[in-house]
Amino acid sequence: MRTDRAARAVLKALIAALLTGFALFFVLPMVWLVLAATKTPAGLIQDAPLSPGSLAALLDNWRNLMSFQDGAVATWMGNSVLYAALSVLLTLLVSVPAGYALALMSFRGRRLLLVVTLVVMLMPATALVLPIFLEFSYMGLVNTTASVVLPMSFFPFGVYLTYIYFSTSVPAELLDSARLDGCGEAATFARVALPLAKPVVALVGFFSFVQNWNNFFLPYVMLPSSGNYPMQVGLTQMLAATPTFNPVVGANAEVQPPELVLATLLSITPVLLVFLFSQRFLVAGLTAGATKG
């Protein structure tokens, strides 16, 4: 009995150590990043890596960042919000019903649709860029919001998430009973399935937001005008204006490493806020309201 309890304590300690170790692994570089934004360019190199800088340096970095290309950073953030929000909306509108139908309805072509979706998901993105660009060029839509938002709204990952969620967590009997109660497919979906789907809607919305927010290549290819860049494309431009990565920019380089870090922190803030907000739904008991025995 005693040895059992001792073994249990050791096990508990081991688990705690493991979880903390991984927490450190994930969070330490982020802590470094946050501290780096409060340092001067010289301090970033000379000071101890995990020491804080000063408020003055932080303010200085902020001022420099905001004056980069006459306030381009604010424009880029605005663009990012617009693109990400629009495409999340569209993604949810199309993928939740699709995932639901794939999981719980039988119709011709269901299996085929699942297979085709999977194939497309496995297709290397490098090969898809050119044709998508040509489609938009053909329609004369290059450099428009649509050229970024529409392809980003195609989110097979989200369709699969909803598909798996509905097929594992919502019993078909529940829906059958709703149908028997006299409701049509649309009402069954809207009144029975959708309320159950909150967690997965949050999950899909969240992942599509992150993916759209961080999408670099699509806007980079589609938007030849710098006023339309989202933040990720803007960040690459700032990287190219940092002497560390592009020595040719000279002594009066516009972007110093701490400013680049600050720009990054700015760019990930919305993602973290959305995560905190949706976390409530993400992990809420996924089976709440399911049929009981």
Partner: protein, 459 residues
């Protein structure tokens, strides 16, 4: 329940319509890969006054692509010409081998539209890929578009990187000739003479190793090391002999000599293998730099920017050369250029723009961070640098002299020689091998890379 199903159908109706429209569009959409169709409609090349078939000319905004640093040039132009309509786009300047210009131009070629009118790049590989083939993007400038007077104002050899088969495709923004940067205060304190030849330089290295260990007189940890040491040594590893032909002799005695120089200094620890702009270098060697052979932009970017060398210490010596080189030659690291699109519908405006940004005092003398490629501007620019009081002694004479000494035998092929060096030689050096022993590997790597791009390789 009837109402339910009705509602669903109504809601779905727009989606189905949209589906049909998109299907129709995509079904008839396969765009022809021949992107040049639209421009071919213009004047035939033979009858053109420019040496290429220009697109039909129209009014409108001139689309200019610049990097962050050259945004000043476009803004200065706009300020001096308030009546001209500009659409200024910032991009990464094709820096760091990002290939962003190439990527986008290839997409535009496929789409047959969308090219910018004027582009700035920081690399030297654009002429070789953008001027050739059916999908050529850049316009020849010396066939009538730009006045001969303007072209002849550029420093000797400045337009070499723009030239393919006798046609000039760009106006050089700044030069990056290699000179000898040294810390005068430190050199005087140690009581050394400024070396004039690579032989003297090597001897000095051995002396420094013995008398002042820890100090360095050069670096070889960056991708552009071959452009400092191999180019200046007239190493024939990169001779572009025709648009698609290259001669590679990386094990030539001239290369071996330069390799041995690097190896000796590295062994004596007076040449560092740390990347110049990595955090490590500034931290550990920032105040140990006695001298660095390097391009003209080192003064601003390395000493003022990264190393924070105090005012009044930095001086410039004549570019190093090998004793038997006659005339003396030097290397070159980078230097940006301006290009005009041959698809441009606003060629006059484009011509005016590139001429102004490369020659006018308002930009090249007042604001340019690099040594101007246009000689009259360069003379005024260097005088201004001298007046700033940052440098110890005369910097104008050695930098100006080196501008005309860049060896023309080092070509600008379609691929990046820097990338080849960084990938093959630097890891080998880090693993403790000598550059001399790595020369055959370097040779093979250049050959393979050249073949990938369809070059005829001669050895």
């Amino acid at each position: 329940m009837r109402r339910c199903s009705h509602a669903s159908r109504r809601r779905a109706a727009p989606a189905i319509t949209a589906a049909a429209v998109l299907l129709a569009l995509t079904a008839c959409a396969p765009p022809s890969p021949a992107g040049t169709a639209k421009t071919d409609a213009g004047t035939p090349a033979a009858a053109s006054p420019y040496g290429f078939a220009p697109a039909p000319q129209k009014d409108g905004k001139l689309v200019v692509w610049v990097d962050s640093t050259r945004l000043d040039a476009a803004k200065a132009y706009q300020a001096a010409h308030p009546d001209k309509q500009l659409d200024i786009v910032t991009y990464d300047g094709n820096a760091n081998g990002s290939n962003s210009l190439k990527t986008k131009v290839q997409l535009f070629n496929r789409a047959g539209e969308g090219w910018p009118d004027v582009v700035f790049t920081t690399d030297n590989n654009t002429a070789s890929w953008a001027s050739q083939g059916d999908d050529a993007f850049v316009a020849p400038l010396n066939k009538g578009l730009i006045d001969q007077g303007t072209l002849s104002g550029f420093a000797k050899g400045a337009l070499d990187v723009c030239t393919v088969d006798g046609a000039v495709y760009c106006l050089r923004n700044d030069l990056a000739q290699v000179v000898l940067w040294y810390n005068k205060k430190l050199l005087d304190k140690f009581g050394y003479e400024v070396p004039r030849t690579w032989e003297e330089y090597q001897a000095l290295g051995e002396k420094v190793a013995a008398e002042h260990p820890g100090h360095i007189i050069g670096t070889a940890g960056d991708a552009w090391a071959p452009e400092i040491y191999m180019w200046g040594a007239q190493c024939p590893a990169n001779q572009v002999t025709a648009a698609k032909a290259i001669t590679v002799k990386a094990t030539d005695p001239a290369c071996v000599r330069a390799a041995q120089l690097i190896d000796k200094l590295v062994a004596g620890k007076t040449m560092s293998l740390l990347p110049l702009f990595g955090p490590d270098f500034a931290k550990n060697l920032g105040d140990k730099v006695l001298m660095l052979p390097g391009p003209a932009w080192y003064g601003g970017a390395v000493f003022q920017g990264a190393l924070k060398t105090p005012k009044g210490e930095l001086a410039v010596g004549d570019a190093l050369h090998w004793a038997d080189q006659n005339p003396p030659v030097t290397g070159n690291v980078g230097g940006g250029a301006w290009w005009v699109s041959r698809h441009s519908a606003r060629l006059d405006a484009a011509k005016d723009f590139v001429t102004w940004v490369t020659t006018s005092d308002e930009y090249q003398v007042e604001k340019s961070p690099g040594y101007p490629a246009h000689s009259p501007a360069a003379a005024k620019w260097i005088a201004r640098q001298q007046e700033s009081g940052y440098y110890a002694g005369d910097i104008a004479a050695p930098i100006t002299a080196a501008a005309a000494q860049v060896w023309p035998g080092w070509g600008s092929p379609e691929f990046s020689q820097e990338a080849v060096w960084a990938k093959t030689v630097i890891p080998g050096q880090t693993a403790g091998k000598t550059v001399e022993s790595l020369l055959p590997e370097w040779q093979t790597a250049i050959e393979q890379q050249a073949q990938v791009f369809g070059y005829q390789v001669a050895k």
